[in-house]
């Protein structure tokens, strides 16, 4: 019964998001738009941006989801969703941004993830007369805030708000207690796992799986194999686009972990699970399905 309600709720959310995306919207009259970004700067555009460069795959997905995809004139090499994004010229891997390549696209707005090198790149772009906006996007809770502000900046306020409401609603749901537990192993030597302050931990909770390292407050942490073995998760979740068993699975020290020994791996596609984006609900459903299907 409980499971059914959650499913229905998720389906509703996705429908809501889809509706928000589909609803055709007229750009508002060419008035100035203002948002405050996560670096605390007031970003003022004379008119909604028409030539946008997105320097994070999540931003690219959000821009397409709110119907601002055709305003994109540049993206990173990692931006592979939706497929239409691949038609937008790439400006490199964005780590750090190639300022010249970005400026050459003559954007009127560049959207950057707030990190040290990106703050520097934003300052350089501003000196070239290109406006920039810096957003945090590490957690499910931040998706709504970003969607809303990208909506304002691209003149898609209504769509941005709808997507934001859908994301906020997903983010406000409590985790579902389920019988299954898992560990996200990001790296094997030293073992790095995902903790509570992360997008993946929230996805697991919403899918009804308990992250065995939910007690670690930071997004990721180094732990010992012994701790993983002692916590004995049902599944090892790995961000990977192929179902190739990780090479550490054959190492003797890892075989002390029962789930590794029994090859209980969940391979989660990086494009869907590795970045917070509008498809978060889809990721939750997919993870739930995978957990139910696995014995």
């Amino acid at each position: 019964m409980r499971r059914w309600t959650v499913r229905a709720h998720l389906a509703g959310l996705v429908a809501l998001a889809a509706a928000a995306c589909a609803r055709g919207e007229r750009a508002p009259a060419a008035a100035g738009v203002v948002v405050t970004d996560d670096a605390g700067r007031r970003v003022t555009l004379a008119a909604p941006a028409r030539r946008v460069v997105s320097l994070l795959p999540s931003f690219t997905e959000i821009l397409f989801a709110i119907g601002a995809g055709e305003r994109l004139v540049g993206r990173t090499a990692w931006c592979d969703y939706p497929p239409a994004a691949l038609a937008v010229p790439s400006v490199g891997d964005g780590m750090p941004p190639n300022v010249e390549a970005v400026a050459a696209r003559r954007p009127d707005l560049v959207v950057l993830y707030r990190s040290g090198p990106n703050v520097t790149a934003a300052e350089q772009l501003e000196r070239l007369g290109v406006q920039t906006v810096l957003f945090d996007l590490n957690r499910l809770e931040e998706l709504g805030l970003v969607a809303r502000r990208l909506g304002v900046l691209t003149g898609r306020t209504g769509a941005g708000d709808s997507l934001a409401r859908a994301m906020d609603s997903l983010a406000s749901q409590p985790p579902i207690p389920g019988p299954r537990s898992l560990v996200f192993i990001v790296w094997d030597n030293p073992p790095i796992v995902i903790g509570a302050g992360s997008f993946l931990d929230r996805l697991a909770g919403l899918a009804g799986a308990r992250n065995v390292f939910h007690d670690i407050a930071t997004p990721s942490a180094q732990v010992s194999i012994e701790t993983i073995a002692a916590r004995n998760p049902d599944f090892i979740a790995v961000l990977s686009d192929t179902a190739a068993t990780p090479r550490y699975a054959d190492r003797p020290e890892w075989r002390v972990v029962p789930a590794v020994r029994q090859r209980r791996f969940l391979f989660l596609p990086g494009g869907l699970f590795g970045r917070p984006g509008p498809r978060a609900g889809e990721a939750v459903r997919q993870l739930r399905r995978r957990l139910e299907r696995s014995p």
């Binding site: 090499a77 990001v186 094997d188 390292f213 012994e226 701790t227 003797p252």
Partner: protein, 313 residues
């Protein structure tokens, strides 16, 4: 007497390493637990062996280049190992042992290059040339590593650096056996060179007059110490500080004669690193600290205390 003390310390350290851990096993479960036999014991033994190897390699290299700042990784080895590890990941080399093997090959490659530089123009492993060559080769390897990281399309390359900072997560009976099979030869060679190393401390010419084959001694010691370090890198990454400080601690406590210095450096290095790893595993559980942080936090105060005693005398 000193050996008795060190053996006692080694036993206490080993016992602590077996008893303590984040898994909180009840005492009655310990004898049959896979966590103890497959994780804690091999990890403690490996940490001991690597610590000992680094202690001996550091002592020998400090004697060879007659510089108290020398450390087993100084001569380009860490740079070479890093390049090997990153290349293994970038090239998607298969197999569970690809990374350690590539790191070993990288370290030995860097070592060979520095060795060759040390012989250019009849320099005969002049300490100054060795140190400069080590820095240059390390910089070259670092540059190539950074080029690979910035050009390759693999976010996991960042994690190669985590591995390089060193630790014993990869310890298993297999890695212990690798060290046990490999280390005795270079260790034996270095301990056998104890007496000529004492002579070398007087300077190369006096050592030559007193009967040491300085040319051969330097080559053998350099190769043995570097191969020992390369093996340590392959199984545990670059663990700083042990190879630098342990020789000084032993010299301050037990004198400068290499016949005592080398075995005590082995035991002291082993005890220090095994104890540091136990702390790294337990103090912030369920998280774990990089072991290099613990060796520095443990070692620096001891070192400072000894230095003070030394200068006061």
């Amino acid at each position: 007497m000193k050996y008795l003390v060190l053996a006692g310390a080694a036993l206490v350290t080993l016992a602590a390493a077996l008893l303590l851990g984040p898994a909180n096993l009840p005492l009655s479960d310990l004898p049959g637990s896979a966590i103890v036999w497959q994780l804690r014991l091999p990890r403690a033994v490996l940490a001991f062996l690597v610590g000992g190897a680094l202690g001996v390699a550091g002592t020998s290299l400090q004697a060879l280049v007659r510089n108290p700042l020398a450390d087993p990784f100084l001569l380009g080895l860490s740079g070479g190992a890093g390049l090997g590890a990153v290349a293994a990941i970038a090239l998607h080399l298969p197999g569970p042992w690809a990374l350690p093997l590539a790191a070993f090959v990288g370290a030995v490659g860097a070592m060979a290059l520095v060795y060759r530089l040390g012989l250019v123009g009849g320099a005969e492993l002049d300490p100054r040339i060795l140190l400069l060559g080590g820095v240059a080769v390390g910089a070259l390897a670092g540059a190539i590593t950074t080029a690979i990281v910035s050009l390759a399309e693999a976010t996991e390359l960042r994690n190669a650096f985590l591995w390089l900072w060193g630790g014993f997560s990869g310890a298993s009976w297999t890695t212990v056996l690798v060290m046990l099979a490999y280390a005795p030869l270079p260790l034996g060679v270095l301990i056998a060179a104890a007496r000529p190393l004492d002579l070398l401390a007087l300077g190369e010419e006096p050592a030559q007059y007193l009967g040491a084959d300085v040319r051969r001694l330097k080559r053998v010691v350099y190769l043995a110490a570097s191969l020992l370090t390369a093996a340590a890198v392959a199984v545990a990454g670059v663990i700083g500080f042990v190879g630098l400080v342990v020789p000084h601690v032993c010299r301050l406590l037990w004198g400068r004669l290499h016949r005592t210095l080398l075995p005590t450096a082995f035991l002291t290095g082993g005890v220090l690193l095994a104890a540091a790893d136990t702390l790294a595993r337990t103090v912030v559980a369920p998280r774990e600290l990089p072991v290099g942080i613990v060796t520095a936090l443990l070692g620096v105060p001891v070192f400072a205390f000894l230095l003070r005693r030394w200068t006061v005398n």
